[in-house]
Amino acid sequence: MDPSVVLVLAQKELKDSFRSRWFVVFAGVFAGLALALVAFSMSGAASYGISGFGRTGASLVNLVLLIAPLMGLTLGALGLAGEQERGTLAYLLAQPLGMLELLVGKYLGMALAILGALSAGFGVSAVVILAQGGYADGGDFLALMILSYLLALVSLSLGFLLASLVRSSVTALGAALFVWLMLVFVGDLGLMGTALVLRFKIDTLFVAALVNPLQVFKMASVIRLGTQPEVLGPVGVYASRTYGSHLMALLVSILLVWIAAPLAGSVALFSRRGAA
């Protein structure tokens, strides 16, 4: 793999993203909502002298759970499937570069664009907290952003995988929205129903919850923000007692696997199919 080629492609993808309406809308919505959430939390909290990051952080976690997967999935699926549909993918592959370089370059560019969007949202929020004289630990804040970023990268990988399974951008968009719905709502509903009917043991439920990367992100955020694991009921306590200080490493590793596996799947599928 030629790193200079990957960088050129990443740069092009980044430029493309900044000029994409989808991306601008996502970034704007995320920054706007984050700003509104922080301002709202701060204004309420500040009047009682309490302006800790815990509650603001919890609101941001909820926002990230909604927006980051939507951003990653749609940008990934649309970006790649659209390129395929327009024929630009084939034209790029007619140049002296390989499929791995192409996909990694595109992924890197989109990942940087998403990093930019999240940095904008979190950065503006941090400025507002500072301006209102609020309290937040820089480390907590950064950790939440890094976890959010990992979740967005998971979604981006899934978007790439979807694009490698379908041919048109419309289908890719539909599939991305479907997967988003599954991850955010339907998966949890299914897990709840199954856990109730099959009377899952705690360890089984813990493992089942970790299948959904959104739950992994949420659990990691809860732990990082210093909330007691009891908030997540017996499963949280079980996880905390079983894995102790390694729990965070476990959760981050799962997110990393969620990033790598769909991306590898996408590369394999595209390599087999070529630019047909």
Partner: protein, 722 residues
């Protein structure tokens, strides 16, 4: 005996001792004097004045007296035992810094131990002590304005910073306790606990079997539990600030088997659970009053065990708690009062209205949440808490009443505005660490990312293509390509020599474009393709460096400009960026270089594609229907460019369905049908070879025959035009 002891004293101390009066004396101890000795010889009513100094050892006061420190004298236990023990009544100790007790929990090593009534311990600093101040049977004592810091140990190994044991009528005022285990107040009646601060400990205050205590104006924050009240009667908890107590149980206020407690006008903020009440009140004829408290930003506002009754919970403000009211365990809340005299509580999630303007909602507040209801039945489901699913589920339950759960409580008269507590201590201000740095870092990252697309660098070492020595330049052997069940190309073999201009000719679906794409290695195929001797399947990236490609469908990134497009492809091909300007000028694109690609005409796009193909000056050009989207003038123009390239020595392979294009450009025609080559004819010499008029005439005639035989309908139409 006494004279012998005095003889042992330092001269200075003895002199000061003599200066005292004959009744209540004042003994002054300087840094060089022996405090132990001064205490041993002091009498009831004496004042021992200690001026500065560091006094090592374990000290004991056995007569009623005043021990007054000036300039913060240090009493240092050296890490062993108890620093100061008082076993006489009416002793006052003030102005000292006591430190370095032992760390034995069994021996209850303390800063100060008081074992007699009416002690006054004031304005002392106690640090590095296992237990801070320990009162045992010390009725009517006063602990005032002391700063007590525990040892830096794990919480279970720490001691209690204040322990009051069987001591009635004790007043504890204006003390600050931090880094201890608990402040324990047990078996003591009529305590007055006012304006103290308890921070970073396990239980800020822990009461057990203490009736008639007043707990007022205290700040309890960042402990595991703010205050736990147990097995006591008539406690008044009024005007306290209890915040950020977030340990495993994390109660702001815990109430267990309490009777007639009054919890009023407190700020309970940012705890895990604001108030937890378990079997309180306990006795059938007692009640519990929880009124005018601010219960805000807690994970759970108030948690009540289901068998708990006779709680009067009114005029509180429940503000933005994660869960406003929790039933701890299964069952419904019954027998508690949520409104009195037409006034209930303020609920920040109340969605009613106040038509009459009385400040009270017209519709009762119902605390109901399907998710909370479900987690009450199956607690394991709490793992899903805090996700969008929880919000969606509760929204669905509200939208479809069939799913509506039974409410945990109904407040018949919810207030429309919060009632805020008055005169409570301000919350401790936290300082953010590193947030400014984080914010700056994020903004810089954003600027850096935004600037990345503009960073243009010439490749450090633009790669020059070596002049190909292989001939033929392209070798194709037994090329076969399947798309599922369809075999698009069936065992095709041919070779292209340097300088050839080869037209792949044939009807639609003959496999021309597929062959071209296989030559580029765009998808997997069987057979062999070698470009300049390099195998396309195994070393496609290298082989493609010798090829410039002009596609039929011009597939550029519309958001890039003409120049940006060329620059990007130049960098992909490791071509020098100077080549971009050169080609913009050569191909007449300079005046369009700022235009977005989507704004270019078909002819200009075709030129751009050719420019991209020529960036690295490759020996081979592959063109797929290069003029199919052009009008006549643009077509002529483009063909003339291709002729020039051919004359300059480029090897061209192109597909086309236009006979005039083939006639004017091709030196060789490969006719394909159904994925096979049916005829391969050289119609001209390469531009470098001399061709006689007779040869040319004969080959052109052959070419026309080939065109006619290839696809009569298509050729007919084309020839008519021609």
């Amino acid at each position: 005996m006494r004279s012998a002891f005095l003889a042992a004293l330092p001269v200075g101390f003895a002199a000061l001792l003599c200066a005292g009066s004959l009744g209540a004396r004042t003994l002054t101890v300087t840094p060089s004097d022996n405090l132990q000795a001064a205490l041993a010889m002091s009498r009831a009513g004496d004042t021992v004045r200690v001026v500065g100094g560091h006094h090592q050892g374990h000290f004991k006061v056995s007569v009623p007296m005043t021990l007054a420190g000036e300039n913060s004298p240090i009493l240092d236990g050296g890490g062993h035992g108890t620093v100061l023990a008082i076993d006489a009544p009416d002793v006052t100790v003030r102005g000292f810094h006591l430190r370095g007790s032992g760390d034995s929990l069994d021996m209850e090593n303390s800063g100060i131990v008081v074992l007699a009534p009416r002690a006054r311990v004031e304005n002392n600093t106690i640090s590095d002590a296992l237990f801070g101040i320990f009162l045992r049977k010390a009725d009517d004592s006063v602990l005032r304005s002391n700063q007590i810091t525990g040892k830096d140990l794990d919480v279970p190994r720490r001691g209690d910073l204040i322990r009051i044991w069987y001591s009635n009528g004790v007043t504890v005022e204006d003390n600050t306790l931090s880094q201890g285990r608990d402040a324990v107040l047990w078996y003591s009646q009529g305590l007055k606990i006012r304006r103290n601060r308890a921070l970073n400990s396990r239980y800020g205050l822990h009461f057990m079997y203490c009736d008639d205590a007043d707990i007022e104006g205290n700040t309890l924050s960042n402990n595991s539990v703010g205050i736990f009240l147990m097995y006591s009667r008539r406690l008044r908890l009024v005007g306290n600030t209890i915040a950020s107590n977030r340990g495993p149980s994390g109660y702001g206020v815990g109430l267990k088997d309490m009777d007639d407690a009054l919890i009023e006008n407190n700020a309970l903020v940012d705890n895990r659970i604001g108030i937890h009440t378990d079997s309180s009140p306990r006795e059938i004829d007692s009640i519990q009053t929880i009124a005018r408290n601010l219960i805000a930003y807690n994970d759970v506002g108030i948690s009540i065990l289901p068998d708990t009754q006779r709680n009067y919970i009114t005029t509180n403000s429940f503000l933005e708690n994660g869960e406003q009211v929790q039933v701890a365990g299964s069952g419904q809340l019954q027998g508690n009062i949520w409104a009195e005299r037409g006034r209930g509580n303020y609920w920040s999630d109340y969605a009613g209205y106040d038509r009459s303007g009385r400040g009270v909602g017209e519709v009762p507040y119902r605390s109901e949440s399907l998710f909370e209801n479900l987690t009450q039945r199956a607690e394991v489901l709490k793992v899903l808490a805090g996700s969008p699913f929880q919000v969606a589920l509760d929204f669905a339950a509200r939208a479809f009443p069939v799913f509506r759960p039974a409410p945990k409580l109904t407040d018949p008269n919810p207030l429309m505005t919060p009632v805020l507590p008055q005169g409570v201590p301000a919350l401790p201000r936290k300082q953010g660490r590193g947030l400014a740095g984080t914010a700056t870092g994020l903004m810089l990252a954003l600027v850096a990312i935004a600037g990345l697309p503009r960073a243009q660098k010439d490749p450090r070492r633009p790669r020059r293509l070596r002049t190909p020595t292989a001939d033929p330049l392209i070798e194709v052997e037994a090329l076969t390509k399947r798309f599922g069940a369809i075999e698009a190309v069936k065992g095709v073999s041919f070779a292209v020599r340097q300088g050839d201009v080869v037209a792949l000719w044939g009807p639609n679906g003959a496999g021309k474009t597929t062959v071209l794409r296989c030559l580029l290695g765009l998808f997997p195929f069987s057979g062999q393709v070698r470009v300049v001797g390099v195998d396309m399947r195994s070393r496609g990236r290298l082989a493609r460096r010798f090829i410039g490609f002009v596609p039929q469908e011009l597939s550029f990134h519309d958001r890039l400009s003409t120049a940006e497009t060329l620059e990007m492809y130049a960098r992909l091909k490791h071509a020098p960026l100077a080549r971009v300007k050169e080609l913009l000028e050569t191909l007449g694109l300079m005046e369009h270089h700022r235009k977005s690609v989507r704004a270019l005409s078909g002819g200009l796009k075709q030129r751009l594609a050719l420019a991209c193909a020529l960036l690295s000056d490759p020996p081979i050009l592959l063109l797929d229907e290069p003029t199919s989207n052009l009008d006549q003038a643009a077509r002529d123009d483009f063909l003339s460019l291709l002729s020039d390239l051919s004359r300059a020595g480029k090897t061209l392979v192109f597909t086309s369905h236009r006979p005039e294009e083939v006639e004017s450009l091709a030196t060789r025609i490969i006719l394909m049908e159904n994925g096979k080559i049916v005829r391969d004819t050289q119609i001209k010499g390469t531009p470098s070879e001399a061709v006689t008029d007779a040869d040319a005439h004969s080959e052109l005639k052959d070419a026309t025959d080939i065109l006619a035989s290839a696809n009569p309908n298509e050729c007919g139409l084309a020839l008519e035009g021609h």
